[in-house]
């Protein structure tokens, strides 16, 4: 009898009472899972950055990095990606305030900045191809295209995620109660940004 009574009442929390999904870690699973993913992604990107460094200066066939790199152009695309991080945090601030109009604006701005970065990368890859650099040309081409291409794939995934959130926000299905969803998407987006900070410095700027 007591068991039946308990079963009837157990799952229903009192309004405003303890969260039934609360965890022993003291943080929500969604956010912790994202941080664990980002932590593992450090090793993922670290492997490809190391591969680039390992084969740096060992290409026997041209073109070499100094023949194809366009630092001013890549600096502009890096600036655009940095600005997308700003619009991303502004979208989080907007949803926390309940300002849904600005939330939609900043989410779309972030996605557009990301798309501009990808467009720049496609342009860069096309230029490199015209100058004779392909993934199979030499060691530089192989490691460069794999590393920056994988980063570009991450950015593309982030753009799709942001557009999904924008779609939900446009339908009124993203409210202040869903702030954590925007925050987790933001964590992913900022991570993509910090990985580019490393790639821009190590791959493009540091001299051989």
């Amino acid at each position: 009898m007591a068991i039946e009574h308990a079963t009837e009442h157990a799952p229903a929390p009192v309004h405003g009472g303890p969260d039934p999904h609360a965890t022993s870690t003291g943080v929500t699973n969604m956010k912790l899972a994202m941080w664990m993913f980002l932590s593992s992604d450090c090793l993922f990107f670290g492997a490809f950055i190391s591969a680039y460094l390992l084969y740096r200066g060992r290409s026997e066939e041209p073109p070499f990095p100094e023949d194809v790199y366009n630092i001013p152009f890549t600096s502009v695309t890096s600036f655009i990606l940095l600005m997308s991080s700003l619009t991303m945090v502004l979208s989080l601030a907007a949803i926390q305030r309940g300002d849904y109009r600005r939330l939609r604006i900043w989410l779309m701005a972030t996605a557009l900045f990301g798309a501009t970065f990808i467009a720049g990368q496609v342009f860069e890859f096309t230029e490199f191809y015209r100058e004779g650099l392909t993934p199979s040309t030499n060691l530089f081409g192989s490691t460069f295209f794999v590393l920056t291409g994988l980063h570009g794939a991450h950015v593309t995934g982030g753009i799709i995620w942001l557009l999904s959130l924008w779609g939900l926000a446009s339908q009124g299905r993203l409210t202040s109660a869903d702030s954590e969803k925007v925050e987790v998407a933001g964590l992913y987006w900022h991570f993509v940004d910090v990985v580019w900070i490393v790639i821009f410095t190590v791959v493009y700027l540091i001299p051989e």
């Binding site: 007591a2 068991i3 308990a6 009837e8 009442h9 157990a10 929390p13 405003g16 009472g17 303890p18 969260d19 609360a22 965890t23 022993s24 003291g26 943080v27 929500t28 956010k31 912790l32 941080w35 980002l38 932590s39 593992s40 450090c42 090793l43 990107f45 670290g46 190391s50 460094l53 390992l54 740096r56 630092i71 600096s75 890096s78 600036f79 940095l82 600005m83 991080s85 700003l86 945090v89 502004l90 601030a93 926390q96 702030s179 954590e180 925050e183 933001g186 964590l187 900022h190 991570f191 940004d193 910090v194 900070i197 490393v198 821009f200 410095t201 493009y204 700027l205 540091i206 001299p207």
Partner: protein, 147 residues
């Protein structure tokens, strides 16, 4: 009457915990159990705070100021990379790495909110970064890339 009062006295002198207490006193004990197993601030974060936050996020103005600093550092990075004929390559590499670490830390601390969130997130991220840097540093050292 005596039979009805007996369980109440037992609960007061030796409080039962876990599933037994939950089954015997469903209405009160479940709520109490949930509260006592949760770290403070988890179930009901302070108004305006997200789950896992310790302090409020920075203001939008502060975010803009941080973005400006990041842009200035990026400009300095690009400028330093053009100084190959002016300063030694070793100095350029050190400066570029310093700028890179500074930008990385600023984004992680301010935009990813590691400054204001619970330390468990920072610990996870630092673990990943340190593991990656250590592992690949040893690999590159072993393969004489850093000689």
């Amino acid at each position: 009457m005596a039979d009805e009062q007996q369980p109440t006295e037992t609960t007061e002198t030796e409080p039962k915990r876990g599933a037994v207490a939950a089954l015997e006193h469903p209405g009160q004990e479940l709520e109490h159990l949930a509260e006592e197993h949760l770290p403070p601030g988890v179930t009901e974060p302070a108004p305006g705070l997200l789950p896992g936050e310790v302090r409020p996020h920075p203001s939008p103005l502060k975010y803009v100021v941080i973005a400006l600093v990041l842009v200035v550092i990026t400009a300095a990075e690009v400028w330093v990379s053009y100084l190959e004929d002016v300063i030694p390559n070793g100095m350029i590499i050190v400066l570029l790495l310093l700028f890179g670490v500074l930008k990385f830390s600023m984004v992680a601390a301010w935009y990813m909110h590691l400054r204001t969130d619970k330390p468990i997130f920072r610990n996870f991220f630092v673990l990943g970064v340190v593991a990656a840097v250590s592992l690949y540093f040893v690999v590159l050292l072993t393969l004489h890339v850093l000689d």
